[in-house]
């Protein structure tokens, strides 16, 4: 027995009310529950609400285990990003950045009131602002697949606090600024690649 559009809407609202905020996660859960309820209706010859209720009583906890409330910190993404950093082309970029900083005194291009350290910080903050605009204004729906990538920005933020502390007046070493420039550039490339992949994925949802 196939569920009607109203039935589907009912399950969707139920999941939304259970705090399943990410559209991609909810869509998959919805299909799982709907298929199970359809089979239950057929096997036990009961109506939608009865089948839905008895299915959820038993399975709700297990189903909602797949829910994510915030992107937070994903170990998989971090490992994936580290693997990406170790690709030969990326290492080449890293080495080029190092050679560049070794030969060019970048601090000369910045003033005392706006140091190179501040510049890196501004880039980091801009990326965070871009993230909010992209999610809230451009996408409208929340997708876990893309939001989890931004967990990396939190890691960079803490690294920055540790290595490029604004209260510390010492000029950072060439190695430190290379590391940060490398991380930010790699992140931009990684992020662009992921957004490209995500866009093909998102198109399927329409």
């Amino acid at each position: 027995m196939k569920l009607t559009a109203e039935n589907i809407q009912f399950i969707d609202s139920y999941l939304k009310n259970s705090n399943v905020i990410y559209y991609d996660i909810r869509m998959e859960m919805l299909d799982h529950v709907a298929t199970a309820v359809e089979q239950k209706m057929e096997a036990e010859n009961i109506d939608f609400y009865e089948a839905f209720k008895s299915y959820m009583v038993v399975n709700k906890r297990e189903i909602l285990k797949g829910n994510k409330l915030w992107p937070g910190f994903s170990k998989d993404i971090l490992l994936n990003f580290l693997k990406f950093l170790l690709q030969p082309i990326m290492i080449l970029i890293g080495v080029s950045i190092y050679v560049f900083y070794k030969n060019v005194e970048v601090a000369n291009y910045f003033s005392e009131s706006f140091t190179f350290k501040d510049f890196l910080f501004v880039i980091l903050i801009s990326l965070a602002i871009f993230k909010i605009v992209y999610f809230r204004v451009v996408l409208k729906q929340r997708f876990y697949m893309i939001e989890k990538i931004f967990g990396l920005l939190n890691v960079f933020y803490y690294l920055q606090m540790f290595f490029l502390n604004q209260r510390n007046n010492e000029t950072p070493s060439v190695f430190t600024i290379t590391m940060f420039s490398y991380l930010l550039i790699a992140y931009l490339i990684y992020f662009t690649k992921q957004v490209y992949k995500f866009n093909t994925y998102k198109k399927q949802f329409v």
Binding site: E28, L30, T35, E62, I63, K65, G66, F205
Partner: protein
Amino acid sequence: MKNSQLYKGSLNTIIMKLLEEQGRMYGYEITQKVKEITKGELNITEGALYPALHKLEADGLLDVEVEKVDNRLRKYYKLTEKGTTENVNRLAELEEFIKNIQTIVNPKLSY
């Protein structure tokens, strides 16, 4: 099977093996297929299945297709090229493991 700890380490291999045989499958279908093959002995829970599928997808071993089916969207999974190669390795590994366990559990039957 009551002790789900026993199959947890092989879950990814089970999923990949099924996908190799069936071409493409969606989440609910995988749980039902496993139940059917093992005559209800093995029950893959939703809480274990979906994280495993998402991890395999993030690792580039699975590809995703979304289709509209009966008023809703359905996410199908299938092996990527990398996944197909990896599947062969993992199956060999699992077979080796089963053989070793058999030797330990029932030494007389082993060779």
